[in-house]
Symmetry: C2
Subunit: 196 residues, 2 copies
């Protein structure tokens, strides 16, 4: 029998395989159904390897999730705030919809028991807003005169992403029209300079 080649991966290669396995498991069974054993099997490694790196399921999933967070680098720049926003929110919706969002709910449910995890998840979410894509897009728009700098506040910047998240929560998915409603009926009317 041609037995398993027993090639042992280490470091980054191994961790990449683990993250892939988590991502795939999330897609198949969701956060609630994800088990450490299944991840280990899928990544062709053993549970011990996982426990050496992360204390438990929550931290493992969180680490895998962070790998897929949109970076401020790939923010659309079309020269028009509306299309920037629509493009960006649509891509968020597509990426987060099936997997991340479910994982995010699962993680949040565990934060009640684990303050350290709570801090971790919340600081990540906060970063998404602080130095994140929204700031970049809106600052560009301010420079173009599309946005009244006086009404731009941290709260304001959070509104679109908050609404997208809630939409995902309510529907499990988010349509193109929902994104446009959020942009055209809520966000833009709020930040556009009054009395044109």
């Amino acid at each position: 029998m041609s037995a398993t080649p027993t090639v042992r991966r280490r470091g980054e290669a191994l961790e990449a395989a683990i993250y892939d396995a988590v991502w795939a498991e999330l897609a198949e069974v969701g956060y609630a159904g994800l088990t450490i054993g299944a991840v280990a099997d899928r990544a062709r490694t053993s549970k011990a390897v996982l426990y050496r790196r992360w204390p438990g399921r929550a931290e493992l999933v969180f680490a895998a999730l962070v790998q897929h967070v949109p970076k401020a680098a790939d923010v659309p720049d079309t020269g028009d705030l509306r299309s920037d926003l629509v493009t960006f929110l649509r891509s968020i919706a597509a990426n987060w919809a099936t997997r991340s969002i479910d994982a995010l709910w699962g993680l949040l449910a565990e934060t009640a028991r684990d303050p350290a995890l709570a801090a971790l998840v919340r600081s990540e979410l906060a970063d998404q807003v602080r130095e994140g894509p929204m700031t970049v897009m809106v600052e560009r728009a301010v420079r173009r005169g599309e946005v009244d700098p006086a009404v731009v506040s941290p709260r304001m910047l959070r509104v679109p992403l908050d609404l997208v998240r809630s939409e995902l929560l309510l529907n499990g998915a988010i349509t193109g029209t929902a994104v446009e409603e959020i942009v055209d009926d809520v966000f833009l009317p709020l930040v556009r300079p009054r009395t044109v």
Copy 2:
């Protein structure tokens, strides 16, 4: 020894005790830490009684949660939309903050595996908006001329609760100022009649 009196509750009395037990467990250990056995013990009943009524943890928690949903009946009516909203959102924040919100995340995490549960949770959330408190308060405000009926849409009605939920998600709690920001900086500017 004065052994346990072995008084057997049935029907509503029993179910009320179970809901109370779920509520208390949620407060102590959160959704992720809640076990069927612990609920049974706390309610001084047995697991079999619970499984006779609900298929599993998710449905049990959901049922307990529904008991605590604010009814349209007890919506504030101060004669002023702003104070109605602030009062209402504050009470939501207080009730939901510690328990329900965590349970809600947990339930949502399980919807990925259980479409029936997903439908259940989502229809409940949708009802909260459709015939819910927001509709009542805003309709009153329309009659008083405080709100422009033209801009009131289902999307618009969702905005305040969506933002409160997201705030709870990010912070684990919601401050009075956050509620006021949502009302004064986001919702009211959107629905107030233009050009006073």
